[in-house]
Symmetry: C2
Subunit: 223 residues, 2 copies
């Protein structure tokens, strides 16, 4: 049940930079928590107290707004969440919610900060991680501003297939409404676009079950 960080197979890459002592310190101070589907892990605008590491299960990272929600990404094991709160405001700039049962390691932000102060390699690894986040956000900005709905949906499906499930068949972990929030389109158009892809023989789908049939065509549509 209890896992030490030194032997954790799903730990984030930056942990490779920690010494035995530091790993022990983190192990002693971490809490392992299981969240159920729909539970909030990080609440946007709340004061940042912890950094979270996903051990298993999928979460959605999203920006909350009165009228319209926006999902930034769906992510799974080995993701590190909350480091972006390490700035002047010390507040989380997005929410994170479990979309299925999720095991998370929660580590006090002061412990992480303290290790950063003593271990430059660890800090550099965090910088690398942040730059990967920036890369993803730049892609998202481009995706939202330059691609039409077919292209966005195709990219989404390929992303699930390639990055999240690593399989041509998978079960969509989110509802049509959430797919709409992830692609910035109306939920009705999510349905229509999926139907359209099915009628063209790009995918087979039934409910949340999806099978990628024509990867090449989807890839061309997504550009």
């Amino acid at each position: 049940m209890y896992t030490t960080c030194s032997s954790c197979p799903n730990r984030s890459a930056c942990f490779d930079e920690l010494s035995i002592n530091e790993l022990t310190k983190v192990t002693e101070h971490k809490s392992e928590i299981t969240y159920k589907k729909g539970e909030t892990i990080i609440k946007q605008n709340s004061a940042a107290k912890h950094i979270y590491f996903v051990k298993s299960g999928l979460v959605k990272v999203h920006i909350e707004n009165e009228d319209k929600n926006l999902i930034l990404e769906v992510s799974g094991k080995s993701s590190m969440l909350g480091v972006t709160a390490l700035n002047h405001s010390k507040k989380y700039n997005f929410s994170v919610t479990a979309i299925e049962t999720v095991e998370v390691c929660e580590i006090n932000i002061d412990i992480i900060s303290n290790i950063m102060t003593n271990n430059v390699a660890f800090s550099l690894s965090i910088i690398n991680e942040l730059n990967t986040s920036i890369d993803k956000l730049l892609s998202k900005v481009f995706y939202l501003s330059h691609k039409n709905i077919q292209s966005r949906m195709a990219e989404l499906l390929l992303n699930f297939s390639d990055k999240i499930f690593e399989s041509k068949t998978f079960i969509l972990p989110i509802s049509r409404t959430e797919l709409a929030e992830l692609t910035n389109m109306a939920k009705e158009n999510v349905v229509r676009t999926l139907k359209d892809f099915e009628s063209k023989g790009y995918i087979k789908s039934k409910g949340r079950q999806v099978e990628i049939i024509d990867y090449k065509s989807l890839s061309e549509i997504s550009q």
Copy 2:
């Protein structure tokens, strides 16, 4: 002419964390370069060799694409550019172009990396800077996906007024086409929206000259 980093009034915040020796080292290794309007400072996808610091003048940070360009932001003095290339790919993920005469300090990336390896406070300051970039990108994602063209144009004008020029009157540093690339709208709609704001008495404008008349209304439109 020649400026030492220790006395530079426009240096980026992270320089406050450097020791006298480190400041001297940076001063000795930096190059001060003047770019003319239209010249490329950073070329997207090229191998990252330097970090750039803007001493004076304005630049545009943009993503290049065959058919449609996208401007991420216009920024001026004290901005640090190129740190986001400190990841696995070691390539710049965007281009930076001078939109007027710009003085830039160029520092070899190895010098910066070397200082980071020895000075944790400096690394932490870089992390803070990266998180500010992430904040900006999150706002941009929200701005592009949740706001209509009037709202985006209003926000743009207020941003120029508040952040760049710190004045209710200013001269737009970029063309209508570039305003379109910054707000993700057609250049024709940039013209129409500005005309509309003028007819409603929110702004006065003639060519690139702009005066904010009704800050409150613009602020409400931008939400």
